[in-house]
Symmetry: C2
Subunit: 302 residues, 2 copies
């Protein structure tokens, strides 16, 4: 499964049952990633039964409170339940000093290694076996990054008749899916391509954080499958959106269209809107495959 | 009304629907005070429809995260809704630098004055028209304070027959209750004591924060009407309680008994306990007028 679970999709203030930004990315069923961590995220992941034992990477787009105030709470709660495995935290540099200060004034230490990666430029941040994550610059009032998560190495598809023909044992099938050749007992080698074909294409997801509308970052997210884009306002407040370094639903849709995405998720709604139906209609006029996100829902990358 | 509304009564981790420490003190119906502010408190006050426009004083007992991680969120949310009136924050000194850093890295300023009062010793912290607040030292792993809130100047009780006898106009009754003498049109002065008697006694409330059991602070809370005391564990874990600088339900009851309080509220329960009925029975054996607090409930000072 490669999906995005929305923990919070409101901007700035919590309102209308919506919470500050946070989302969980489930990838390859083994590990989960978190993007942004607004206040109360540790309660949200508890409510949604997200296992923090599988959470090893947290990415923070920028240091406005509605995107990071919950980070210290998650980290110290992991410590309280006795976590020992390392945790990678990717964020603008000042967050590291802040967390170290908070631990110091509490006279606390962590029972696990917190590996802090300061965001300073567009680069590959994590390159794991089954996924990679890179960041790109977006345009907000303070330094702000979007993230692209790429699936890696989806299994090759076995041709069963061919595999049987070469007497490849079932116990070797997982290795075939991973692309390995088979060495038969008689010393002959069955090349992987003779018994498998390419599996499903690796997919990608882009989180575009807080930004005003500009095409400057379209190249960075070109051809991703799924985009989450902020839509703080509707088009009638385009000027206000620009002044506050935010986007409208219509602008988010334009970005998805220009990037050639398959689907668009909208979030980061202003507290001034209780009903979000206009966000959907405004975006769909430009980019039909748009969803107004709901908290607690998991959206599968198409 | 002089009452304590529990927003969070769990220790360390949020669990079993219980939240980290925070409570609202309603006093004289005009102002509310907050004691401690764990993560998510701004969502809790929204849920319980607490008006932050009436909240002008926040007291933080100590700098463990479950008592203060929500402070920056409340403060920045007050800014977002355009607060202009000053806010007094009383806490150990490092919180001030932390908040200033968080504002700086967000490139934000507050549209109101944040008046920070560092807690450094036992002293009178606030002396307002209708209440006063002082702090006292309790004994935790890091510097930690309890708070005593005293009602002031409850109205004198008018003797209606006497007031009529002296032809005191109804419009002056509020001043009579406040203790003023009445100057009649003929120049004569009606002394207040001639037409009023003492009103109800001023009450007091003590929040005892996180502490291990010791009688060292009993003198500070002697004869208060209502005590909120932490009861992280039950008596069978007395040793663990001591080692972790916490108290048991039985110890909290002993403190209430020795202080001569009228009633005791228990809180700050360890996440290891889902059912809290044993806390009630253990404490009531020693101090019968004990309540195991529930979040969302307001307890009136007797």
């Amino acid at each position: 499964m490669f999906g995005v679970t929305i923990l919070g999709n409101n901007s700035a203030l919590p309102a209308h049952g919506r919470h500050p930004t946070s989302q969980i990315i489930t990838i390859a069923d083994e590990e989960i990633l978190m993007i942004d961590c607004g206040e109360g995220t540790q309660m949200r992941i508890r409510d949604f039964r997200v296992k923090t034992s599988k959470l090893n990477h947290i990415f923070i787009s920028h240091l406005h409170g509605d995107h990071y105030f919950g980070a210290i709470g998650i980290i110290t709660s992991m410590a309280l339940v006795g976590r020992t495995q390392s945790l990678h935290l990717y964020a603008p540099a000042p967050l590291h000093a802040l967390i170290l200060t908070q631990l110091k004034i509490a006279d606390s230490t962590l029972p696990f290694e917190l590996i802090f990666h300061p965001l300073t430029k567009e680069e590959l941040l994590a390159d794991e076996e089954k996924f990679s994550v890179s960041c790109f610059k977006v345009f907000h009032r303070i330094e702000c990054y979007g993230f692209i998560i790429n699936e890696k190495h989806r299994p090759r598809k076995i041709m069963p008749a061919k595999a049987e023909e070469y007497n490849i044992p079932l116990t070797f099938y997982k290795k075939l899916q991973a692309g390995e050749d088979y060495s038969a007992p008689d010393g002959s080698v069955i090349k992987n391509q003779m018994v498998t074909i390419e599996g499903k294409k690796n997919r990608s997801y882009a989180f575009c954080a807080d930004t005003y509308y500009t095409e400057a970052y379209v190249s960075a997210i070109k051809d991703v499958d799924l985009i989450y884009h902020e839509a703080t306002y509707l088009n009638d407040l385009e000027l206000q959106a620009k002044q506050r370094f935010h986007s409208t639903a219509g602008q988010a849709a334009k970005i998805a269209l220009k990037a050639g995405a398959k689907a668009l998720l909208l979030g980061h709604f202003s507290s001034k809107y209780k009903d979000l139906s206009a966000f959907e209609s405004e975006a769909k006029e430009i980019f039909p495959n748009t969803e107004v996100t709901q908290e607690g829902v998991t959206y599968i990358v198409p």
